[in-house]
Symmetry: C2
Subunit: 432 residues, 2 copies
């Protein structure tokens, strides 16, 4: 029976989960592939040794011991971050190793360099684990939906942000309270900006768009807004409108241009994405032939993400054994067919909006607001003006029909500059 040897760089959450799966499921992998897929080496800078269940596997603190081991067929880069991950991956490619990685930051920023190097060396780069953890979404896009032009991608791609919004929704707590609790429980990083500001979600959207549309795209093309300005009152109004607030990645493909944005969004409760709660992820597609398809599952964690890493290892091992590396193009389209594509400027996006203004409760304020919106071509669907409270400003909540972002920004700029307005208007887009 042919043996395929795997080396892992990085023995953190995902690295140790991957190692555990390779050892525990060795029989299963043999039953499915007819191959012996073995964990040969692990390198981790900060560990002293491996736990006893990995006795059969060599360990060192030096990634070069994996990269330069002539017996190793597949290198799993599981340290994350840009450097030294990029250096390790490029050197492993140069020494003829196939790569499997969970590194969305690396791929969304340096993907083209890495795939070019892999093509030149004739090796594969698997990245199922880089988006949505244990959900086989990359394979679905590259193979399962290969007969489709993808029109729409929407995703809940960051478990930390979704966990925070879910708890704010279920418990009525403010953002800062839930975040602090999530940090105390280890669900959120000490520096949470990567998750709550939408950057991690944008990394993943870039990867999905590249393989869904066959285009060159980079992180700078994505419009990004995070969830830190969402308040319990917004979540309460969302409920009143039959919606839940989710941090969504949204992309639409118009053929000659594409949208790419990450922002909090009011999702109608009857939409499947509204039911994705807690640390779960989901990706929703519209394909021109299959119609709407959604995949749902655990977006993080050592074993779920390890499941995706090992799925790529299995794929690559099968290709090595069958002598057909890069049987499926790494980026889903043949290299010559990947094109540049215009990105829709933010100002030209259209959609319905929720505005929450804080105003002095004076006669005529609503008329002024409505006037400014009307002058900018923004049509109001409904207004909620709460009764005067004990003292202080009152909220005015407005839902609009479809409006153009540029007009919205002009109108809100004017409204926010008026004396009756006590703080910047909160603006949340509503999913149609």
């Amino acid at each position: 029976m042919k043996e395929i040897k795997v080396g892992i760089i990085g023995f953190g959450t995902v690295g140790s989960g991957t190692a555990e799966i390779l050892v525990k499921q060795a029989d299963l992998l043999r039953q499915r592939t007819g191959l012996r897929i073995t964990l040969a080496r692990v390198a981790d800078r900060s560990a002293d040794s491996l736990p006893p269940e990995f006795d059969c596997c060599a360990f060192s603190n030096d990634a070069d011991d994996v990269i330069n081991d002539p017996d190793i067929d597949i290198v799993a880069e599981l340290i994350g971050g840009l450097e030294p991950a990029r250096d390790f991956v490029l050197r492993a490619i140069a020494s003829g190793k196939h790569i499997v990685t969970a590194n969305k930051a690396l791929l969304s920023l340096h993907g083209s360099q890495i795939f070019q190097a892999a093509a030149a060396a004739g090796v594969e780069v698997g990245f199922e684990a880089s988006v949505a953890g244990g959900i086989p979404v990359i394979k679905a896009l590259k193979e399962g939906l290969a007969a489709n032009r993808i029109n729409v991608i929407m995703g809940i791609l960051n478990g930390t942000a979704n966990y925070i919004l879910s708890r704010m929704t279920d418990e009525g707590l403010p953002f800062a309270t839930v975040l602090a609790d999530a940090q105390a429980r280890g669900y959120a990083e000490a520096d949470p900006s990567y998750d709550v500001d939408g950057i991690d979600t944008a990394h993943k959207l870039v990867i999905l768009m590249a393989i869904a549309y066959g285009i060159n795209i980079s992180l700078a093309d994505v419009i990004i807004e995070g969830i830190s300005r969402i308040e319990p009152i917004d979540i309460a109004y969302a409920k009143q409108f039959g919606c839940r607030i989710k941090l969504l990645a949204i992309s639409k493909n118009y053929g000659d241009h594409v949208e790419a944005r990450v922002h909090p969004t009011m999702v109608p409760e009857e939409h499947m994405l509204a039911s994705v709660n807690g640390a779960y992820n989901a990706v929703y597609f519209n394909g021109d032939m299959a119609g709407n398809v959604m995949l749902y599952g655990r977006g993080a964690g050592g074993l779920p993400t390890g499941s995706a890493v090992v799925a790529d290892i299995i794929d690559t091992a099968r290709n090595i054994a069958a002598g057909c590396p890069n049987r499926v193009p790494g980026l889903s389209f043949k290299r010559d067919d990947i094109v540049d594509c215009l990105i829709t400027p933010m100002a030209q996006l259209t959609g319905a909006y929720y505005f929450r203004m804080s105003v002095h409760d004076e006669p005529g304020v609503l008329a002024e607001i409505a006037g400014i919106l009307g002058e900018n071509g923004i049509s109001i669907e409904s207004v909620i003006q709460k009764k005067r409270q004990e003292s202080g400003p009152v909220p005015v909540v407005i839902r609009t029909h479809a409006a153009v972002e540029e007009a919205v920004n002009l109108a809100l700029g004017e409204i926010d500059s008026r004396d009756f307005c006590t703080s910047k208007t909160v603006k949340i887009r509503i999913l149609a």
Copy 2:
């Protein structure tokens, strides 16, 4: 550029959808595969000719013209049913063609014969389209989740049944009314038993279990109950309990034995499967490494199902071009590793139940019912006894804690035989 030629047998909904995709998406398929995948021949017994957009494609009324065409690499069997589909598939295999099929009845009844013949001939049998239409669920199980032992499969696999239950839920209408309307609109067959009695769902469950667990299983192993006894009152009680009634395929894998059943089920509203409405399908897995994963999409229709057929055609074309047929085992496990497995007898299944009894409104009836349940070891979670109506029987609704099916059947047999009981108790299982 290498050309791969496809022949289609059957130009009904799925056959014409598949043909349309092959023609319309020819450029896309070339961009993704580097191959020219062309529709060379269509055979259909009852059509006179093909629409003009398929001019480049030969047509006949005789399936043998496809099966015996030496230029054809892949035959798509899209006529459905057992015969002559089985005969066509076996003869196409014998003449060295790779097979793609959407035929769940054929595979769930004659799968082992077909896969044995394909193995002997060294050809592939793709069947993504046989389960859940456009949702790439077979690929997810065979490849995306290949690192997992699958513990649980649950699915909404029949769009007609789900459409009927969704309308009963949303509109409060009786089963017969919705069914008649669905038939008038062409959403349900003249003979709806295949869909509403759970047989079609069971066919698909058999296919999923075979590839998820690596076991031999046949349709006779599945316990099947349909939805025709569900009444609006049951749906109303389900709502009161925070549940929706769905026709679920459910299988659990205990290692040495497996459960296999199809029946109406009360699904808690917060479960993702409860949100799957209308003609949509969904399949929910628990993998030992990835955890819970769900795939959702259109389970029927020419283009969604055609999308799955063409995904298999692409896969097979890639394998032909790369010289690696059966790179992934047809049934997900190597043939020697597929085992027989015990099926849990229905009587030994455990779970919570909803009972709706119709009784004469007399003192002491509830005490008698509770006594009989208690004697059979069935513990009551809640009881709802409605006020006396104008005349006639009253419903008694009981939710139980986990109970054994055998005890439930004994208890209900006894209750239904008592004089106070006016008709057979309706029993619906509740998803934990």
